[in-house]
């Protein structure tokens, strides 16, 4: 099936546990998340590129005051969650949840630590939904 190079396809990739971005066939630029055209050479010549999901932690936070949607999943002051920026080995960065670490003691988490992508599922309004997380490699 031809998937459009867009945000919808990015999230659909998660459902299959795949981290999908794009590569420009003309100039070789790679992009994650996918985008509809190459902003380096502006040629309309993209192809899908799957990222391996290996990388390292660049920056992060542990969130204690949570938005409504995360409160509904049981997160809050007593159960914070971590999000961060991860640099993948392919050279691009992406945002994701950081799991398998001590969310209440974020000072124990080290910038630069090696991570590996994971695609856990959560129920949202009765529908199962995958999201991007990274765990210590």
């Amino acid at each position: 099936m031809e998937m459009p190079f867009n945000e919808l396809s990015y999230w659909m990739g998660m459902e299959e546990a795949r981290l999908m971005g794009v590569k420009c066939k003309e100039c070789g630029a790679i992009y994650l998340p996918p985008r509809p055209f190459c902003v380096q050479c502006y040629k309309d010549a993209l192809e899908w590129k799957e990222f391996k999901g290996d990388g390292k932690l660049v920056a992060f936070t542990s969130i204690f005051v949570v938005p409504k949607s995360m409160a509904e999943q049981g997160y809050g002051r007593d159960n914070p969650y971590i999000v961060g920026v991860v640099e993948l080995n392919e050279g691009v960065r992406i945002v994701g949840r950081i799991e398998g670490v001590d969310t209440k003691r974020p000072e124990t988490i080290k910038i630069g630590m090696p991570l590996k992508a994971d695609f856990p599922k959560v129920m949202e309004a009765g529908v199962s939904k995958a999201y991007l997380a990274f765990r210590p490699a």
Partner: protein, 422 residues
């Protein structure tokens, strides 16, 4: 390809006022805008007939989400009694009203209008903290908020990168918080016009009144280190690193330079105007700076022919304490990594060589998102005219000030340079 941006003709600021910022149960955004408008009329030295206002540009982030009310333009022209004058609402997250200011300046500079009102407003306090957190997160990129980033979370993430690179810690941000409270204490319009020392005494009083054990802290830093009074919001940022949920409104009167003297004895010129856009977190090469601020500064400095050394005072967008530090670096006041040291050395205090956020900043003056941009410009206008009351900076020959406004996670930033020429 780069040419120096310039205004088609001179534009002056001749009036302005803000409502009190805070959380108001019995008042809505219209009441607050009315307060600001009436006081603005009084602030025009030689008076203004409201019927002479030719257009309104209004900044507002999210009345749709917070109030279920969109299309604010005509609601406001009706309130002000200036129907059928044109009105438009501009949105740029927390920089919404800086965009309204910019649109107003452009309208006058182009020659289209001579007399323009610019304003901003937000009403947030009647929503729960969770709802506000959700609403504000919408100003980040879709990939960020869908991942669970909150607004404080974005800046907390930036803080970890800054601390890692420059070997600093969250405790180094206390200086910024202490200064904000110190300045807001002198601002009667501020939401938190109280020093940390006074807050400590209040806490002790409260406990005493309730016959609870009376807490005591060695000093202000000990108070800010106490997780009971200063809990984590998004680690490493704590409550006192964050600007509050606020309601408020502000408006400013812009007129063409040719007619400025008719309104004001000391008109203040819009000398520089800059705006930039910025990347979401995952596309930033450097998390410790805002490219949108740098672009805005480049434009505004070029237009005005002034540089960071010429800026005598500034309001910068301290939605979070770490943000203030980074902005003072991006605007060229301090070298990268030196902003946090400058704050700790007191260089940015009201009596220091580079006073920053004399109003108390977003942190203590309050941050009704859509009103913030014009309120920052207002503070500079008041200071340049020597009308800032108790918080007037002790600078002889104060002529140049700047207001820096940031929207979202740095996706939109502006810099406005005001100059008193006469």
């Amino acid at each position: 390809m780069s040419r120096t941006p310039k205004l088609g003709r001179g534009v002056c600021l001749v009036g302005g006022a803000m409502s009190k910022f805070g959380m108001f149960k019995g008042l809505d955004y219209k009441d607050l805008f009315a307060q600001a408008f009436l006081e603005m009329l009084d602030s025009v030295d030689n008076g203004l007939n409201p019927k002479d206002i030719e257009a309104l540009y209004l900044g507002n982030f999210s009345s749709d989400f917070f109030l279920k009310q969109s299309h604010l333009g005509p609601v406001l022209t009706d309130l002000l009694g200036i129907v059928p004058r044109p009105a438009a609402r501009l949105e740029g997250a927390c920089a919404s009203s800086a965009l309204a200011f910019r649109a107003g300046v452009q309208a006058v500079a182009s020659g289209m209008y001579d007399i323009v009102l610019v304003g901003g407003l937000e009403e947030m306090s009647k929503r729960s903290t969770e709802e506000v957190t959700e609403g504000l997160a919408m100003a980040s990129s879709p990939y960020e908020w869908k991942t669970g980033f909150t607004f404080p979370g974005i800046f907390a993430t930036i803080a970890t990168a800054y601390f890692e690179r420059y070997k600093a810690s969250a405790d180094d941000l206390f200086a910024v918080t202490l200064k904000s409270h110190e300045n807001a204490k002198l601002n009667p319009k501020a939401q938190f016009g109280v020093t940390i020392k006074e807050l400590m005494a209040q806490r002790a009083e409260k406990a005493k009144a309730k016959s609870q054990p009376v807490p005591s802290w060695e000093d202000e830093r000990a108070f800010l280190s106490d997780p009971k009074v200063n809990p984590e919001i998004a680690w490493p940022l704590r409550l006192f690193d964050c600007s509050p949920i606020s309601d408020g409104a502000c408006c400013l009167l812009l007129v063409a330079e040719e007619i400025a003297k008719g309104f004001s004895d000391t008109p203040v010129h819009v000398a520089g105007l800059g705006q930039g856009s910025g990347y979401p977190l995952y596309l930033k090469e450097d998390l410790t700076q805002f490219e949108a601020t740098k672009q805005a500064a480049k434009e505004a400095y070029a237009m005005s022919g002034l540089g960071p050394k010429d800026i005598q005072i500034a309001e910068v967008h301290d939605c979070f304490s770490i943000a203030e530090v980074i902005h003072t670096e991006d605007l060229g006041f301090f070298a990268p990594g030196e902003g946090i040291k400058a704050a700790n050395e007191g260089l940015t205090r009201r009596g220091g060589p580079k006073p920053i956020n004399t109003s108390g900043g977003l942190k203590c003056k309050g941050h009704p998102v859509g009103a913030t941009g014009v309120a920052q410009v207002l503070e500079i206008w008041l200071q340049l005219r020597g009308r800032a009351g108790e918080r007037q900076v002790p600078i002889d020959d104060l002529r140049v000030g700047a207001a820096h406004n940031l929207g979202g996670t740095g996706g939109t930033c502006t810099l406005t340079i005001l100059q008193k020429k006469s």
